[in-house]
């Protein structure tokens, strides 16, 4: 059953993937566990992420025009397939709420300190739900504009901060226990690159299904490039002190000063963060809504967008008692928790599909 009539082009998919990678990862810069080797952890994370994405794209190309809910039902049968789909949709929904928590904390701590949490969450999710209600085509078009603006502003802030960079902060190289470095690399592989698993709900809307792999890889590499620049900039400017800041990338933007006239330009970075967050939460909400509609064989996913979005916002408010727990979860727990959904479930689905030669069987039927 086709719930989404809209289609996205290849370039729109690339822009959405870039926004998704950039999303909350620009807020809580991944690879910080690797200290001054964070840039290398991000490179290793990309390699790992490309490996994960190969699984998703292979799955999507074996079942063109189908999202993960349909794929799992086709592979595992109605009962087990639905059970796996529920777990996967639960992950998308919870990941969405985690991203909302990240942004809520950021807005509450930095931008709108006096504003009640419920107002921040409500208005953010009303706007996101409005975008998602209009479908994937609209998200794709919004992503194009937002990513171009984000790239421009990120490069501008990079250039404006070059005089503050000290490349001695990268030294000593390779002075980190291997275990700690591997953990940081794996963490970067899962967040943000492994989260591309959410696109298993979106690939069905692509107008050129044969090019999924190339398009996703391109999007991931472009997204990685900006994350890499952000990491280089942060390490070069903050050095070892970056560990004491909750939002190190934002902290570096605070240092922009052009002849003491143009200062306090961090608001530009704040706007960039919010735009990327809008898209990431939007994609996750879209995936959760269309998946739920598919699961229960509803007539439309649009009726679910607002209640599911507001529920996501409410869950975001009861995710963590404070920012410290949130960061502990992001650094130490999330890579393990996410492994089930970004590696185990898609891998098992692909292996079972290959063993059962399912696309061939389906064509035969």
């Amino acid at each position: 059953m086709q719930l989404e009539a809209g289609k996205i082009s290849g370039s729109e998919l690339i822009f959405i993937v870039v926004a998704f990678i950039f999303g909350s990862s620009i807020l809580l810069l991944p690879g910080l566990d690797a200290e001054n080797m964070g840039w290398l952890a991000i490179i290793c994370g990309l390699i790992l992420g490309i490996g994960f994405a190969s699984i998703y794209t292979t799955l999507a190309m074996r079942f063109p025009g189908k999202n993960f809910v349909e794929i799992s039902e086709a592979v595992f049968g109605k009962l087990i397939g639905k059970f796996i789909a529920v777990a996967f949709l639960g992950y998308l929904f919870h990941l969405g709420s985690l991203v909302v928590t990240d942004y809520h904390n950021f807005i509450k701590l930095i931008l709108l300190v006096e504003t009640p949490s419920s107002v921040i969450v409500l208005f953010a999710l009303l706007i996101i739900s409005y975008g998602v209600w209009h479908g994937i085509e609209v998200l794709g078009r919004v992503a194009q504009g937002m990513v171009i603006l984000t790239v421009g502003l990120t490069l501008l802030s990079f250039v404006l901060l070059t005089n503050k960079m000290d490349f001695n902060n990268f030294l000593p190289l390779f002075d980190l226990p291997l275990k700690q470095f591997l953990w940081a690399s794996y963490g970067t592989g899962t967040f943000p690159f492994g989260e591309v698993v959410a696109f298993l709900m979106i690939f069905a809307a692509l107008d050129r299904p044969k090019q999924i792999r190339a398009l996703v890889f391109k999007g991931m590499i472009y997204g990685w490039m900006f994350l890499f620049f952000a990491s280089i900039r942060t390490i070069a400017i903050l050095g070892p002190t970056m560990e004491i800041f909750v939002y190190p990338v934002f902290q570096t933007s605070k240092l922009i000063s052009i002849a003491d006239v143009f200062t306090r330009l961090e608001i530009i970075t704040g706007i960039v963060f919010l735009m990327m967050g809008f898209l990431k939460i939007g994609i996750l909400l879209y995936g959760a809504a269309i998946g739920t509609a598919q699961l229960f064989q509803l007539n439309s996913y649009r009726t679910l967008v607002l209640p599911l979005g507001l529920l996501m916002g409410l869950v975001a408010l009861i995710n963590f008692p404070n920012v410290i727990e949130n960061i502990k979860h992001a650094n130490d727990i999330y890579p393990i928790y996410a492994t089930v959904f970004i590696l185990v479930i898609p891998s098992i689905t692909l292996v079972v599909a290959i063993i059962r030669r399912l696309p061939k069987n389906e064509r035969g039927n």
Partner: protein, 71 residues
């Protein structure tokens, strides 16, 4: 928090009659389930009832059963 609950009720006021008229029972059931969950959660948070933190539950579960496998 009550604002969120009011918006959910408002959405229900718009969507439910449409679904009833079109006899989309399945849609109505899922919509009602999600909306009621949202309303109840919103009211509980508003009343400052101590609800277990979702992220913390996951953190404790992972720490208890899985962290040794990975680290």
């Amino acid at each position: 928090m009550l604002l969120i609950v009011l918006i959910l009720l408002f959405a229900a006021g718009i969507e439910v009659p449409k679904m009833l008229y079109e006899r989309h029972w399945r849609d109505l059931f899922v919509f009602t389930l999600i909306t009621i969950t949202g309303i109840v959660l919103g009211i509980l948070i508003q009343m400052q009832v101590r609800i277990p933190y979702v992220g913390v539950i996951i953190t404790r579960l992972v720490e208890k059963y899985f962290i040794n496998i990975f680290r």
